[in-house]
């Protein structure tokens, strides 16, 4: 859905993006992470055609963003980290304008109503945007970015300043949009929040792509599992290594993480084998993606390389 090739961007005396190349698949939610000044916002602005890079290519749904920025905007939605709203317009007018400005065909009324309902703003349609709370303003801004049903939604720190409940609602909304086939690229410093919905992770540092990888299992037939043993993990490790369909084994102290090929039956068979082998099994469960640990591992790896 998004293809970036050899993207380079400079500020005077500083290379903000250095030969960045990646491809984001349709329907993915990619967490864009990295330390401050890594080039995340610059990358997002280049993807949206708001900045012209020094070199490279950005293609969104078959449209070259640098050559045809206006045409690409029909396919793109963008929420800046410091967004503004037309304070004197009502919520309905803001949404109606966003729909018309992004060439939504026909009467925008039903689209406005549907978007407002999706963002729980239906009862606020006649309220001036300037009188909304922080959370509601955020929802309206997202509503403006998605009203034209873009193929790609780019969000820069969308959850900053939101309370936990609003963040949870935002995560649910992102999953909903993903289920509709939208591709999302979300930057945030709060990795725990990204864990709730991200399928991929793209790590930038000093303008360079440190790592781009899928989170969790590589495909639907795989599952990520973790087990903990009471004593020495050697027996459990030996059993796992001997069995087929098991990959990516990572042991840390008495905890072992791995991926298992197959469904519930394969998992049940493995559990039975571990119990029968008496490896001292204490816990055996599906692993929640630990973005924080994964991010830190990648950054440490990058440190070693550099």
């Amino acid at each position: 859905m998004i293809t970036v090739r050899g993207l380079s961007f400079e500020y005077p005396g500083k290379r903000a993006l250095d030969d960045v190349t990646f491809t984001l698949g349709r329907g993915s939610i990619t967490a864009l992470v990295g330390p401050n000044g890594a080039g995340k916002t610059t990358l997002m602005r280049c993807l949206c055609g708001l900045e012209r890079p020094l070199a490279g290519e950005v293609v969104v749904d078959g449209i070259d963003v640098i050559e045809e920025p206006r045409a690409s905007h029909e396919k793109l939605g963008y929420l800046s980290d410091f967004f503004g709203l037309y304070a004197e317009l009502t919520v309905a007018q803001c949404l109606r304008y966003a729909a018309a400005a992004n060439h939504v065909p026909g009467d925008a009324g039903p689209r406005v109503a549907a978007t407002a309902a999706r963002l729980q703003l239906a009862d606020r349609l006649d309220q001036a945007a300037g009188t909304l709370s922080r959370g509601l303003r955020q929802r309206l801004a997202i509503g403006q970015a998605i009203i034209h049903a873009p193929r790609v939604l780019v969000l820069d720190e969308p959850a900053s300043g939101l309370d936990p409940e609003a963040r949870h609602a935002l995560a649910a909304l992102f999953r909903e949009l993903q289920a509709d086939g939208m591709t999302l690229l979300v930057s945030s410093h709060i990795l725990a929040e990204l864990e709730e919905y991200a399928t991929d992770m793209l790590i930038l540092r000093d303008g360079r792509l440190v790592e781009f990888r899928q989170l969790g299992p590589a495909h639907a037939g795989q599952r990520q599992l973790v087990l903990r043993v009471a004593g020495d993990p050697a027996a459990a490790l030996a059993l796992l290594r001997a069995r087929s369909g098991i990959d990516g084994i990572e042991a840390q102290s008495r905890e072992i993480a791995f991926t298992l090929e197959g469904g519930d039956e394969a998992q049940a068979a493995l559990l039975a084998a571990l119990v029968t082998a008496n490896v001292g099994l204490v816990a055996f469960t599906e692993a929640a993606p630990d973005l924080q640990a994964s991010y830190l591992r990648s950054m440490r790896g990058a440190d070693l390389v550099s």
Binding site: R5, G6, S8, E10, Y11, P12, G13, K14, R15, D18, D19, C48, G49, L50, R52, L54, A55, G56, E57, E67, P69, R70, A71, H73, E74, L76, G77, Y78, S80, F82, F83, G84, L85, Y86, A87, E88, L89, Q93, Y97, A98, A100, A101, N102, H103, Q144, H148
Partner: protein, 447 residues
Amino acid sequence: MNPEFQRNLWLEFTMQRVLTLCGTLLALFVLTGLFDAHGPGGMVPIAALAAFVGVAVAWGGHLAGESVLDELRDRTWDQQRMSALDPWSMTWGKLFGATSVAWTGGALSLAAYLGAQREALSLHPWLVAAACVAGAVFVQGLSLLGALTLARRSKRVKTVFGSRVAAALLAIGWAYLAGIARGEDALDWYGIAWPRLPFTVVALALFAAWAVFGAYRMMCEELQVPTRPWVWLTFLLYVTGFIGGFLVGELADPLRALRVLAALGVVVCCGGSYLAAFALYRDPLVFRRLVTYWRAGAGRRVAEEVPVWAVSLALAGVFAVLSTLLALGGPLTVTKLESLGPATLPVWLYALRDLCLLVAFGYGPRPERAEVSTLIWLALLYWLVPGILKMLHFTALAALVLPPVIEAPYRASLALATQIAVCAVFLAASYRRRIVPPATQLPGATL
């Protein structure tokens, strides 16, 4: 309907504003008519024209500029840039949407002006009304162009003061032009006697069209739609031709007319280059991108990226060479401009040196102060240093710093070429120090 126009109507065209403005204007015209001893045909037309200038020109000009500056202040500009609206829809939507109430008041004022005329069938008041409309569009277009120029320079516009001052100045300028148009005598333009008022109306309408087109081109830049500098060059040629019409009017000899136009071309193009270089955003990375695109063989991108001030400076160089060649054809004594002849070459070199300095200061440690630093250096080079040297009787040295262009144009050109070489070394050193990231290669494999 154009969504941008619609949005501006939602924000600006409120019943309260329209009623307040129209009520105030009507009261002004009725009271003027009642208290004027000469009846409605006396002071009412003057009051109506004054109201038009105040409402449609000054206030309308302010509103046109604010239509962009408000977006920057409210941080909604990125949303606009991310929309799928084309630059032309965005331009006219803002230009006529943001000024809709001002135009309503302006239309009422013009109706009062025309209604108060004693000679209903005379063409004159209609021409004055047309000049008013063209003047208002011109000022509003310039104001929008100015605001977009500000937006290119900085996304952090806090004050409305600048656009108000600009609108007031432009209104005064327009009133001055309108005053000229009231004269009865004919204008000599390219040897033809043109009736003054219709000529002014047409000239204003054409400049209004240029102002709106300029705003549109600047909008293209803001919306990342690639543009090439042909329009800027055409505008400079148009200005040269327009002003030239007044200067070559009495010249029957085509060679002399060409000499005047060539010398005028140098002055206009150099003036345009100074204006563009000082007023427009000078992207410090533009030459780095140009080199990258050039190396990658992307000629189209080079044309899109090249700054307009550089292009007009190149055109000024062409005019300077032409002017020098034309001077070989005979004595240079008819007009002051014609007598410039080969002196246009050092005039052009002066401009090249000054703009080299400006670009070099833009690569300095404080690029935001490049304009001020350049102006200080220009004051030193044009005034202070030569003045001190002359006071100390170092006349030859003073002539090296400020070479006289009329007396010895070729020697002046040589001295200025040396100064430019020094500036170029300074510029190249600043570029390498401040612009090129340490230990990086120019990308260029994929364009």
